[in-house]
Every structure is written in structure tokens, then in C-alpha cells.
């Protein structure tokens, strides 16, 4: 057969075999299960779903599957319709400016022109949060004046709905520039004062744009802060962190493999390497046990001393019993 059928190999089968009992409840969890039984028998237990939903839980979920399919089809249709609407709106040619109308004077003012008929022209562009309110108002007014009368009326109506009070139009820049929703850490806003300074709008807008452009590199420089790289390197080197455990664990696995194969010299070399890389690693204790066992396996001169020291220091370590068994002859000699 093809290689695809061989994908289910011994590795996968053994993974399932080895984890077969892994999810059995522990004694503590069994106690929780006993408590559940007591609750049910006492009639104190309630389901998280409605009473009549219990029947639906039992019967085959045919109805729910059908409903799910209907919902998926409906959502798909809605998505297609929305996409079609968006495409048609996007491709609609922008309204021609009236004859004699002054073209927008700044780049920022002309930028949102294709969406000028949208209800919130001044709020739509991303920089608007950073720009001062005066520049927003100026840009919006420029758009309004470049419209034919009928469109301008509609624009004005929509623009007025954005303001809390139509009478504040003249003082809007001042009021808005002092509103608390502009973060103090943002760009130093070019305050243009009142609406009478509308003639200076291009300059103030350009200042705002320049200020934003000035801030942008600074923001990027924060991202490339070298201290983060140092922290990352420190985390990478820290053996006690869980993400480093797999590598250490792999080393321990090789160590145990060497012990199983009675390759004590390799086990000793690996334990030395482990001690060099993770002197205070998660498996430090176990490494010392393996080192003692491997020393006894080779029967080095210091094997008995090492085993004795280990057992004296860690008599209740999980690996102590194995050390005891492996070093029995060396310990008996002393």
C-alpha cells in the first residue's frame, strides 16, 4: 500500500499504549467522584442544561446537525452579500467636486475624500486619534465645501450629529483638544486655537503629521529594545523554566537509555554534560543518582564514596533504591 497508510506506525501505537491509563482518576479525583454520587443521590445535583434538554442529550443529535448546517449556509450567504456590497461601495466613483470649488489643500484633508459621504469622515482615518480636533474639523470642513449643495447639506447633517453641540463648532477645537481621551503620552498636539485660525490649517495639519511621523520611529525603537533580547536569552538559559525542561528531559532520557544498555561510560559522560549545562537543573538529584549508579557500574575508585554520599544526602530520593541496589557490592566493601 502507499506510504500514507504506514503513517500509523509503531510510534503512534506505542504512544496510545503508554498513555492508556493516564487519564484514570487519581485517588483525590475518585473522592470527588464519590461526592458527585452523593449529590446525585441526595437530589441536590442539577444539570447545567435545562430539564427538557436532557432528552435532546440522549437522542441522536440529528436536529442539531441540520440546524447547524442551515446556520452555516445562512452565514455563508450573508458573508457573500456583505462582500458584494463592500465591493460595489468601494468601486463606486467618488462624487465630482462642484465647479469652482477649491480643491482640498492638504494631503490629510484630501485623503478621506473617497469616503467623504460616510457618516464619520473625520473619525475614519487612523491618525485622527492622534491629530488635534482642530485639524480634524478643518479637514472635514474642506470636504464639505468641496461638495455640491445637496451633498453638502447631507454632509453637514451627518457632521453635526458627530458633535455634541452644533454651537460648539467654533470652539470645538479648544474643547476637543482638552478632552481627556487624548492620552498625555501621545504626540504633542499642534493646538490651533479657534476656528478662525482655519487659514493656518494646512500648516497645523502638516505639523501634526510630522509629529506623528516623528513618534513612529520611536515606537519602533521600543519594539527593538535590546533589553528584551537579553531577557529572552536569560529565559532560554534558565534551566528551571518549564520550556527548558524538554531539552533537559531528553538528556535524562538518553542517560537512562545508556544505563539500561549498561553503557555506564556513556551515562557518566552524559551526566557530566548535564551537570555542566544544568548544574541546578530540574533533574539535578536524579542526575547525581545516575552518576552514582554509573560509577558503581564501571566500579570506579570513587564509586562507593559517591554512592554513600548520595544516600546520606538523599535517603528518600526516588532513585535512592536503585543506587542502593546498583552499589550494593561497593557499599559492602567499605
Amino acid at each position: 500500500m502507499s506510504n500514507r497508510e504506514d503513517d500509523w506506525g509503531n510510534d503512534s501505537a506505542s504512544l496510545f499504549r503508554e498513555t492508556r491509563r493516564a487519564h484514570d482518576p487519581t485517588p483525590a479525583e475518585s473522592a470527588r467522584l464519590d461526592a458527585v454520587l452523593a449529590r446525585i443521590q441526595a437530589g441536590k445535583a442539577e444539570t447545567s442544561f435545562a430539564e427538557d434538554h436532557a432528552a435532546d442529550i440522549v437522542v441522536r443529535g440529528v436536529a442539531s446537525a441540520t440546524l447547524r448546517q442551515i446556520a452555516i449556509v445562512s452565514l455563508g450567504a450573508a458573508f457573500v452579500a456583505a462582500a458584494f456590497f463592500a465591493v460595489t461601495q468601494f468601486n463606486r466613483p467618488p462624487a465630482e467636486p462642484a465647479h469652482g470649488a477649491k480643491p482640498p489643500s492638504t494631503a490629510v484633508a484630501s485623503a478621506p475624500q473617497p469616503i467623504a459621504m460616510q457618516p464619520a469622515p473625520a473619525l475614519a482615518p487612523v491618525p485622527s486619534g492622534k491629530l488635534s480636533a482642530s485639524s480634524q474639523t478643518a479637514a472635514a470642513r474642506d470636504e464639505g465645501q468641496s461638495r455640491p449643495r445637496s451633498q453638502r447639506r447631507r454632509w453637514r447633517a451627518s457632521a453635526e450629529t458627530q458633535r455634541s453641540s452644533p454651537r460648539d463648532m467654533a470652539s470645538a477645537p479648544e474643547a476637543s483638544s482638552s478632552t481627556p481621551h487624548y492620552p498625555p503620552t501621545s504626540v504633542a498636539m499642534p493646538e490651533s486655537g479657534t476656528a478662525r485660525q482655519a487659514g493656518a490649517e494646512p500648516a497645523s495639519t502638516e505639523k501634526a503629521v510630522a509629529a506623528i511621523q516623528d513618534v513612529a520611529p520611536r515606537a519602533r525603537s521600543v519594539e527593538s529594545n535590546p533589553t528584551e533580547a537579553v531577557t529572552a536569552a536569560a529565559r532560554k538559559a534558565d534551566p528551571m523554566l518549564p520550556e527548558n525542561a524538554p531539552t533537559e528531559l531528553a538528556m535524562m532520557k538518553r542517560m537512562h537509555g545508556a544505563l539500561r544498555d549498561a553503557d555506564f561510560s556513556t551515562a557518566l559522560a552524559l551526566s557530566a554534560e548535564h551537570a555542566r549545562r544544568w548544574p541546578r537543573g530540574v533533574f539535578e538529584l536524579e542526575r547525581e543518582g545516575v552518576r552514582a549508579i554509573a560509577s558503581c557500574g564501571i566500579d570506579t575508585d570513587d564509586a562507593a564514596l559517591r554512592a554513600k554520599r548520595f544516600l546520606a544526602a538523599h535517603p528518600h530520593a526516588p532513585v535512592a533504591m536503585r543506587v542502593n541496589a546498583a552499589c550494593a557490592s561497593q557499599l559492602a566493601k567499605r
Binding site: 503513517d7 504512544l15 493516564a22 487519564h23 484514570d24 482518576p25 454520587l37 446525585i40 532520557k253 526516588p318
Partner: protein, 204 residues
Amino acid sequence: MKATPQSLTLRLSTPVDARSEVATPHLATKSFEQIYDEHSDFVWRNARRLGVSNSGAEDVVQDVFIVVQRRLPDFDGRTTLQSWIFGILVRVVRHYRRSYQRKDARCVPLEQVGHSNTIQPGPRTPSEQAESAERVRLLENLLSQLDEDKRMLLILSELEGWTLREIAESLQSNTNTIHSRLRAAKREFGQLHRRWLTTHGDRP
């Protein structure tokens, strides 16, 4: 022909409650407590394998057995009781998953499931326990990448050791369909596992 194996013909000799005596006079005798004792571990471990967190598993077990208690009179004995309970479990877990998607409920995606209880106590060294826990984590991670049907088939077949016939009856399908689906599930799991081994080297 529909041969019913011995294991599938569950007969209870005493009613579980008053209603079951009327509805299923031929069923009998296991008290609800006995049924709970026999199957609560099964429900627990499969709830965990289906992605319910350790804290949520208790609630899932409770919901499953409340349904079992109420609906046992409707159980007609065409499948094993365990298959029937598994069907209830699957739907309860789905319900929990939906409620998790709506708000912060007790069923979380497998990759977020805590593994604190996967290290079983025993005469093993810390690294062996860690190795075992990592294998469980790998299994859960790979299973979570399969769709629910494939995951269920692998759990029942490879972890619970059910026969194809038992799985087919539990899922109300036929044996051939289950067989081909199981092969597809194994193939996909094997590919994921192979990819993982290639990426992660000699880890378990």
C-alpha cells in the same frame, strides 16, 4: 443479520427506580450506585480525553449521570450500557464546549488543559514521570488537532479497546463505515505524529 454479542445484551435484574420498573421490566438489577461505580471512571477519563479540563470533568460526570438516572428507563439494551453512556457523554461535552465558547466555562481546548494530574504516583523517578506526562501532553495535543469524530474513534478503539462492532453500535453506524473512518483517523494521527517527531527529534 444483526448478531448481538454477549457483551451487548445488558440485562438488569432490578429496577433502577420506580419508572424503570414500568418502562423496562426486563431490565434489572443494578442499582444506580452500581452503575455509577462501574462507569464513573470511564466517563471521567473520556471527558478528559475529549478536552474537558480537570475542574470541569466533575461537572460533566455529574451531568452525564443525572441524564443516565433520568433516562435509564428509555435504555432499550440494544447496545451496551457503556456505549449508551458514552453517547450521552459526547453530547454533554459538546454542550460544555458550546458554553465555553459563549463564556468562560469549564471546558477548554485541549491545548489549554492542565496536565497536573497526568503524572501518576508510583515508584518512578521524576524524569520518568515527566517523560510520561510529556507523552500524555503529546497525545492530547495531537488528538486535539483531529476533528471530533476521528478523535472519538481513536479514543474508543485505541484507548478503550472497543471493537469495531461496539463502536458502530455506539455511534449508530455500520462496521464498514467505522472501519474506513478509523483508518483515516489513524492515518491523519500518524502523519501528525510523524511531523512532530521530525520537528522535535528524540523527545517522546
